[in-house]
């Protein structure tokens, strides 16, 4: 338990350490960097090996990334599906780009809520994956109908639309249920960090007008012409309001940052009550955008967890962390 700080000037490789760990668990970079950039130039593969203490268990996680080939993910030396690893080693990652959950396009908010659902259990995780796959199936059917050739036609569309409507409505129900559980924790956290009397409301904005099946039928002709599915949870949005004002447009950058942090922290606390232990916390360089008082509050919140923090600000954190590692030119001193 406790906070480990990795301190170093920019470009020394401090983020690479937690990016490697996060990549091994989630299968993607929290900077949105492509897989090939995780492999040294002129090398064919890279390997991450991590001994992880999580949920009172010791786990050995090994990932080998292969350029142009499929990757290998081993948990305790057994090949393990990505989704199982994600749920076996819950992780909360904070980065500077989290602000986009509040300030960015709806896609960022959908990604946040669906990534959160994946951690909530196999059924929720399956629903997210099924919906995504059904959308891909539908887009292939639409394109085949558009070309007017091919083997997949209206009878396939009938069947897959029915599945899409069922999984899509289930996904919406799951998102709503998760949001309603996050909201009270979010409020408590936001008030704690931003000050008392601040009220945060979340509302879900569906693209569905009546029910998904009939909307899919209504938009079928247009969808075939455009080759896309125009209605469903992949077109929905979430609005966060701080004291009645839409945070995406009307909050200051500081408020947006605090709200995004509180959201991730609320999910973290929800996961803790579900699994009985804090997920591992990774904070990448977030202190550069927070004042001293907020840094203190953030660190206080992460105290019960196992947290790894990267920062280039050395002096502010000395007495607040349990362990400090200094990094220079890619090696720990």
């Amino acid at each position: 338990m406790g906070v480990t700080a990795i301190v170093g000037r920019n470009g020394q490789g401090k983020s690479s350490i937690i990016e490697a760990l996060s990549y091994a668990i989630t299968g993607r970079s929290f900077r949105g960097a492509p897989k090939d950039s995780m492999i040294t130039k002129e090398c064919e593969s890279s390997i991450v090996r991590a001994n992880i203490f999580s949920n009172q268990r010791e786990l050995l996680l090994e990932l080998s990334l292969n350029r142009g080939g499929s990757d290998r993910l081993l948990l305790n030396r057994n090949v393990t599906p990505r989704r199982d690893v994600v749920r076996a080693i819950p992780l909360t990652v904070f980065t500077l780009s989290d602000i986009e959950i509040v300030s960015g396009s709806p896609a960022h908010r959908r990604e946040f809520i669906d990534d959160s659902l994946i951690l909530m259990g196999p059924r929720a995780s399956e629903t997210v994956d099924n919906y995504e796959r059904l959308l891909q199936h539908r887009s292939h059917i639409l394109k085949s109908l558009q070309r007017g050739d091919g083997s997949v036609g209206y009878d396939s569309l009938e069947i897959f639309d029915e599945s899409l409507a069922i999984e899509g409505e289930r996904l919406i129900r799951m998102r709503l249920s998760l949001l309603s559980r996050i909201e009270p924790i979010l409020n408590e956290l936001y008030a704690d960090i931003a000050g008392k009397g601040e009220k945060v409301l979340t509302s879900y904005v569906p693209s569905v007008r009546t029910n998904l099946m009939s909307d899919l039928l209504d938009s079928r002709r247009d969808d075939i012409r455009r080759g896309i599915t125009s209605v469903g949870p992949h077109r929905d949005d979430i609005i966060f309001r701080i004291n009645g004002l839409n945070a995406r447009y009307e909050a200051s950058q500081g408020e947006q940052r605090t709200l995004a942090f509180s959201l991730k922290m609320a999910l973290h606390e929800l996961l803790r009550s579900r699994i009985g232990e804090d997920p591992i916390i990774l904070l990448d360089d977030v202190f550069s955008e927070l004042d001293e008082e907020r840094i203190e509050k953030v660190l206080k919140r992460t105290k019960s967890a196992q947290a790894i923090v990267t920062t280039s600000i050395d002096h502010q954190i000395d007495e607040k962390v349990n362990q400090k590692l200094v990094i220079e030119s890619g090696s720990l001193l």
């Binding site: 080939g69 796959r133 091919g150 083997s151 997949v152 396939s156 897959f160």
Partner: protein, 193 residues
């Protein structure tokens, strides 16, 4: 050498690297080993074909199950692949006949109803005295869609349609279900029409 690697790369589940590894392995191995492999492939291709009734693998025009007089010819279990048939046979719970679709609906891969043995299934249902069709497609998106499609096609005939009950590992394939679970699922099948 490259030709050999290219041929292996075309096989399902084998990427360029594995293809290279297998090719080098065969080159280093004894002559007898590659002779046996080449002979088995040719032999299988020459002698094994599809059963003309159920589209299972067979060495004759009709497979051993289709010609077995002990099997209950009023019930047909529909599966995606011969390997699923083998998994169900291993449970010893099912005494009827099979129909192998040779796949599942999969628009991403361009597979529609026409690419599956669905027309042949419908022909069997109209010819013979069949009371029940049990759909045992895989419990994933494609298997469920195929099952829905079949139920819709079969219901107007008045033949009873049931779907293998879940209790199978979620999102898993039938071939990985342990035999006990699969047997239990067959007992607990639910009506679809």
């Amino acid at each position: 050498m490259q030709a050999l690697i290219d041929e292996f790369s075309k096989l399902p589940g084998i990427g360029p690297k594995s293809a290279q590894r297998i090719s080098f392995y065969l080159l280093r191995s004894e002559q007898g080993e590659s002779d046996r492999l080449a002979k088995s492939i040719l032999e299988a291709k020459r002698t094994i074909k599809w059963c003309q009734r159920c589209f299972n693998l067979s060495e004759e025009d009709l497979c051993a199950i289709c010609i077995d007089p002990e099997r209950d010819s009023t019930t047909i279990c529909v599966v995606e692949e011969p390997k699923d048939l083998i998994a169900i046979e291993r449970t010893r719970e099912f005494k009827g006949l099979y129909h192998v679709l040779q796949g599942a609906l999969n628009p991403i891969e361009g597979v529609g109803p026409e690419q599956l043995r669905i027309r042949e299934l419908m022909a069997r249902l109209s010819d013979a005295a069949i009371d029940e069709v049990i759909i045992c497609t895989n419990p994933n998106i494609e298997g469920e869609a195929t099952s829905m499609y079949l139920a819709r096609m079969i219901s107007p005939t008045g033949i009873k349609v049931s779907r293998i009950a879940s209790g199978l590992p979620v999102g898993g394939d039938l071939e990985y279900a342990d035999e006990l679970t699969l047997g239990r699922a067959l007992e607990g099948r639910r009506d679809m029409a």
